[in-house]
């Protein structure tokens, strides 16, 4: 199936991108994570999806690009391209409330507010741990700012005595 690019193409592409899940956080789509920055539709160049990496070294970005192209090809956009941008830098502020609820239901504490204030060197003990995604307790602590993926830190809930992950706010 070859699509004819038209006025509604951009919306169709966005609908396809809603089905492409992040490989490391499979409850969120690449759009919900804010990885997809724009979709350009051009008679000459076809469909271009503009993406930005979450972290500079995120190993998932190549998988994400591959998944985006595969989903678009499956939907009939055979010659789509992916372009990377670094500006503006990715931030967890782009994750909407609805997606935060999905993260919490999945057992990952959603990102809080970015703590960009307070000088360039801020020590870990100044940072507050997020509430537990399982029991909502505030009796929590950050065990390590680094977890199974670049975007997550490891926390501990003293109330329900369970470890949990937090989506780091950056």
């Amino acid at each position: 199936m070859i699509r004819v690019l038209g006025a509604t193409t951009r919306d169709e592409v966005l609908a396809v991108l809603d089905t492409v899940m992040d490989p490391e956080v499979p409850v969120l789509s690449v759009r919900e994570l804010g990885i997809v920055r724009d979709v350009l539709v051009d008679d000459r160049d076809g469909v271009t999806v503009v993406v930005t990496p979450t972290y500079s070294g995120c190993p998932a970005i190549q998988v994400i690009e591959h998944d985006i192209l595969a989903a678009l090809e499956h939907a009939g956009f055979a010659n789509a391209k992916v372009r990377t941008t670094y500006s503006p830098p990715w931030t967890t502020d782009w994750i909407p409330e609805s997606a935060r609820a999905k993260l919490k239901a999945y057992g990952i504490a959603p990102p809080g507010h970015r703590d960009d204030g307070g000088g360039l060197v801020q020590l870990l003990r100044a940072r507050q741990a997020p509430p537990c995604p399982y029991c909502d307790s505030r009796e929590t602590e950050i065990r390590s700012e680094f977890g199974s993926t670049a975007c997550k830190s490891v926390c501990w809930c003293r109330s329900c005595r369970q470890p949990f992950e937090e989506f780091k706010a950056i």
Partner: protein
């Protein structure tokens, strides 16, 4: 037509493109330090630290990839980030010597990381307003990562310095031996002068007081002694011009062996 006789007059060495050199410095600092940190993978003192150091390493390698790719594109000779990482020899690397020193014990790795991380946040914060918009964008992105890197290494400076006698002794020893290598971070040369004059890069000398006060603040809290005297900018040739310690060659031998044994291999 006969070819001209070989000239005995040496061809004047072409003046290197300042931005290309600068991008190599940014990329190589991150590539080499990232590699050093990766040596802890599977050897960390506790699981959380094994994972933390590997994570920081991954961030630095990701940043290195971007800076080296930009350098290759600017050069326009068909060298991508892999060609620059795997097919240059030690004299062509532009990283500072601080990052190439062997990883030492955990205290040494943390002390080196802390000194670099503070430099990194100060540098990237300034670079984020570079006149070169692409450089500014990548710096702004990297700064977000550098901020939690220094949160990690700074926290460990407190734990080790204000910890046991043994941890205090080890981290103080590491600081004392690392201190002289920090001078190179602020030693501006022609590349820095040219780029700071055009607003592309910050004036390195102006970053040093800021770095020093941020470092001292944490060291004081950690009950550690800041080594006497601000290190003066090195007058000798250093890593920025390709003069390295013996350690870089050994690191590169390990890092480059697979790529050089199987050039062009993919998987």
């Amino acid at each position: 037509m006969t070819s001209p006789a070989p000239s005995i007059v040496p061809v004047p060495r072409q003046k290197p493109n300042a931005l290309f050199e600068y991008l190599l410095r940014l990329g190589d600092d991150r590539l080499i330090l990232g590699h050093r940190l990766s040596e802890w993978c599977g050897h960390g003192p506790i699981l959380e630290e094994d994972i933390a150091l590997a994570n920081v390493s991954l961030d630095l390698l990701g940043q290195a990839t971007i800076f080296l790719r930009m350098a290759g594109e600017l050069e326009g000779q068909g060298r991508n980030e892999d060609a620059l990482a795997y097919f240059r020899d030690a004299v062509e690397f532009r990283n500072c010597q601080l990052v190439e020193l062997p990883k030492g014990d955990f205290a040494f790795t943390i002390a080196r990381q802390f000194l670099f991380d503070v430099y990194d946040v100060v540098l990237l914060d300034a670079l984020a307003s570079s006149a070169n918009s692409q450089l500014a964008a990548v710096a702004a992105k990297s700064l977000k990562e550098a901020r939690y890197h220094v949160r990690h290494s700074g926290e460990w400076m407190l734990k080790l310095g204000d910890g046991t006698d043994e941890s205090h002794r080890r981290v103080q020893t590491a600081l004392d031996s690392l201190w002289r290598f920090t001078a190179e971070l602020f030693a501006a040369d022609d590349v820095d002068s040219e780029l700071s004059a055009s607003g592309v890069a910050p004036d390195l000398a102006s970053l040093q007081p800021k770095w020093e006060s941020l470092v001292r603040e944490v060291l004081d809290r950690a009950t550690l002694t800041t080594p006497a005297g601000l290190p003066r900018p090195a007058r000798t040739r250093g890593g920025r011009s390709g003069a390295h310690t013996e350690h870089l060659g050994h690191l590169l031998a390990e890092m480059q062996i697979v790529a050089r044994s199987h050039p062009g291999a993919t998987w």
